[in-house]
């Protein structure tokens, strides 16, 4: 592929291949959605830095590769999967290999009656009414090039449905692992999580690879938190350092719902996250926390938007970045407080540590406030590790690397301690230690 017209034609051509691979599924109701999407896709343009939303993020290197949207099936051993589990945690596990659900590697533990935890492909095949009602309703294709691509090629992903009043005690861990064979592959997990009224669920979306190959993950996740539901979402991005990771998450919050999210990201050559949450009714809470650690020439981009469409809602957003080498970070956090949304509390903060003079951070808070009785604040800092503190640690006999690691643990600690799963906190501390003290 040479340019952005080619990439479109390439995928349009691939769509025929993809349709063939669907076999019987082509006749399901859902197939029309795919066909609409591919014709929509033909009208969109590949994003460039001329687009305001992609100003600091150049994804043209995607064009250099012919990623196959119909990945060949590969086998992954359970030993490989074990590397990505959190110690001593008994929980339900869903594993997707190259985008396809693997029932052999997955297991379900202590699932309350009526709760559905499984594969979207399965749900689509069965014309599941919940899927029919919600899929694609929040992450609309609109002008999202990559979402439209995902819609056209939707095949599998995680589907979780927690009916009204049900509480799923243990976290649900979903691993998306990519294993390339001879070709560079594109996987497009399409996830739908629906939490009914007064329900509770914790979901971990975990993107991993055991190799350092070039591939492309384009994921779309839609989350519905119905009245009074509590949804705790953690996304852990540990892709290969040569991979491309483009992800979108759309959250729909109904009255008095509570959604919290953590994005922990340290893989991929280029990763882009669009996180949008919308308050559809009064009295809800939304927390978006993030921690990204990048080095070499990695690029991390988070574009978030919290839409305060209704009054009496609270949002709290805190993203922290640690940049090494020639890496580049982008944070664009939009908070929209609409005219109706009186008594809104919105807090946003972005702090970045640059460990190298060549690292670059672009941060842009955007508060758009149309109501008058609100409390909103935002702030951003970009700095280095505190030299005085480092000297103090060294003067106690602690070496350069250990001192750096201690200060980074300290910097990241508020994001990590706000994660409610101890085993996951340990796993993350371990990632930091490995990254900064070896």
């Amino acid at each position: 592929m040479e340019n952005k017209t080619d990439i479109k034609q390439y995928f349009i051509n691939q769509f025929d291949e993809f349709e063939k691979s669907l076999n019987g599924e082509k006749s399901s109701d859902f197939h029309k959605v795919r066909k609409d999407a591919i014709s929509k896709f033909a009208k969109l343009t590949f994003p460039t830095q001329k687009d305001e939303e992609w100003k600091y993020t150049n994804v043209s290197s995607l064009l250099k590769h012919n990623f196959s949207p119909v990945p060949v099936k590969e086998n992954v051993s359970s030993e490989t999967i074990n590397k990505f589990l959190f110690d001593k945690m008994e929980h339900s596990l869903l594993v997707f290999v190259n985008g396809n659900f693997s029932s052999e590697l997955s297991k379900l533990i202590d699932i309350p009656k009526g709760v559905v935890i499984g594969s979207l492909a399965e749900a689509l095949k069965n014309n599941n009414p919940i899927v029919k009602k919600h899929l694609g309703k929040y992450a609309e294709n609109d002008n999202y090039f990559f979402t439209t691509l995902s819609s056209a090629f939707t095949k599998d992903g995680a589907f979780i449905y927690v009916p009204d009043g049900k509480v799923v005690e243990d976290p649900i861990h979903i691993i998306f692992i990519t294993k390339s064979g001879s070709e560079k592959i594109l996987t497009q997990p399409r996830n739908l999580f629906v939490a009914g009224k007064n329900s509770e669920v914790t979901i971990i979306e975990h993107y991993v690879s055991d190799e350092d190959s070039i591939y492309f993950t384009n994921s779309v996740t839609e989350i519905v938190a119905d009245e009074n539901a509590i949804v705790d979402h953690i996304k852990l991005q540990e892709e290969s350092n040569k991979a491309f990771h483009i992800a979108r998450m759309e959250v729909d919050q109904e009255r008095s719902s509570n959604f919290s999210s953590h994005l922990i990201s340290h893989g991929a050559e280029i990763s882009r996250n669009d996180f949008n949450a919308k308050f559809n009714d009064d009295g809800s809470e939304c927390m978006l926390n993030g921690l990204f650690m990048i080095g070499d020439e990695q690029l991390f981009d988070a574009h978030t938007m919290i839409d305060h469409a209704k009054p009496h809602c609270n949002s709290h957003e805190h993203y922290k970045g640690i940049l090494q080498d020639k890496s580049k970070g982008v944070f664009n956090g939009k908070v929209m407080v609409r005219q109706d949304a009186q008594k809104t509390n919105a807090f946003q903060q972005n702090n970045t540590i640059l460990l190298s003079d060549d690292a670059v951070m672009n941060t842009k808070p955007q508060l758009e406030i149309f109501a008058d009785d609100v409390k909103c604040s935002h702030g951003a800092t970009i700095g280095k590790l505190n030299d005085e503190a480092k000297f103090y640690l060294k003067s106690r006999g602690i070496g350069e690397d250990a001192a750096t690691a201690i200060l980074i643990h300290a910097f990241a600690s508020d994001v990590i301690t706000s994660i409610k799963i101890p085993a996951l906190r340990d796993y993350l501390e371990e990632i930091i230690t490995k990254r900064f003290n070896q």
């Binding site: 060294k394 003067s395 106690r396 006999g397 602690i398 350069e400 201690i406 508020d414």
Partner: protein, 254 residues
């Protein structure tokens, strides 16, 4: 000899602050360095600890016969040099316990010793915290964060007790302490004194020296040691004030 400083000159931001310091410290000794504000006491302490902003332009520092200035800050600490800071820095997010555990184990690793297990480490902390009457709850708190002035100074001596250095430099550890806290700190320092280690007590006031009895007193003024003597020099200074050294400076070489 534990420490030997010969004709030490040092610059900060291009200004010469230390202008030819000579000092010899043997194991088992306590030396006091006194002097008015701005005379270079903290600069000397920082140079000994290896702070990078301070550029040594002339002279040498031998520690146990080794060239101290060639060692990194952490290696100096691992070799047994300890600086109690005049202004201990606050480090949010890092607990005292974590700092000390890492420090103790890094030092042990350097010396080719095994890491302390958690139980032994905790009992070490417990024992040493009693020495400076530091409440156990400080152990889990972030380093110096929200500590009062006196708590910070006590915490410095607590760290000294845990790390068990050969050469301790206490930079105005007495400043800002009320008399009770001063006694506690001095008591701790005295208990840590052995024939094998030495202490340099940097102070602005004579008061501390009622509790920590020095073998030698040196007066630092404008980057030079202008007077040295026994503990009675401190009393004389107290009586006559620093103006005495200032006017007397020309004839001062000991």
């Amino acid at each position: 000899m534990l420490l030997e400083i010969n004709n030490l000159h040092a610059n900060v931001e291009g200004n010469e602050i230390l202008k030819g310091i000579n000092l010899k410290v043997n194991a088992g000794e306590v030396h006091a360095i006194m002097g008015p504000n701005g005379s270079g006491k903290s600069t000397l302490a920082s140079v000994l600890a290896g702070k990078e902003e301070y550029e040594v332009t002339e002279g040498e520092v031998l520690y146990n016969g080794k060239n101290l200035l060639e060692l990194s800050t952490e290696d100096r600490a691992r070799e047994g040099v300890f600086l109690a800071f005049q202004y201990p820095v606050e480090i949010p997010g890092v607990s005292n316990t974590n700092l000390l555990k890492t420090a103790v184990n890094e030092i042990r690793k350097y010396r080719g010793e095994e890491e302390l297990d958690s139980m032994d480490f905790l009992s070490l902390l417990k024992e040493k915290s009693k020495l400076v009457e530091l409440d156990q709850k400080f152990l889990s708190r972030a380093v110096n964060e929200g500590f009062s002035g006196g708590e910070k100074k006590r915490n410095e001596i607590f760290q000294m007790a845990v790390l068990n250095p050969k050469l301790s430099i206490l930079d105005e550890t007495d400043s800002g302490l009320d008399i009770d806290a001063l006694r506690i700190v001095a008591n701790g320092v005295n208990k840590l004194k052995t024939k094998e280690n030495a202490t340099i007590v940097v102070t602005h006031y004579q008061r501390l020296l009622d509790y920590i009895i020095p073998d030698f007193v040196h007066v630092l003024y404008k980057g030079k040691i202008v007077k040295s003597g026994g503990k009675e020099l401190a009393l004389e200074l107290e009586e006559k004030g620093y103006d005495w050294v200032k006017s007397d400076k020309a004839e001062a070489v000991v």
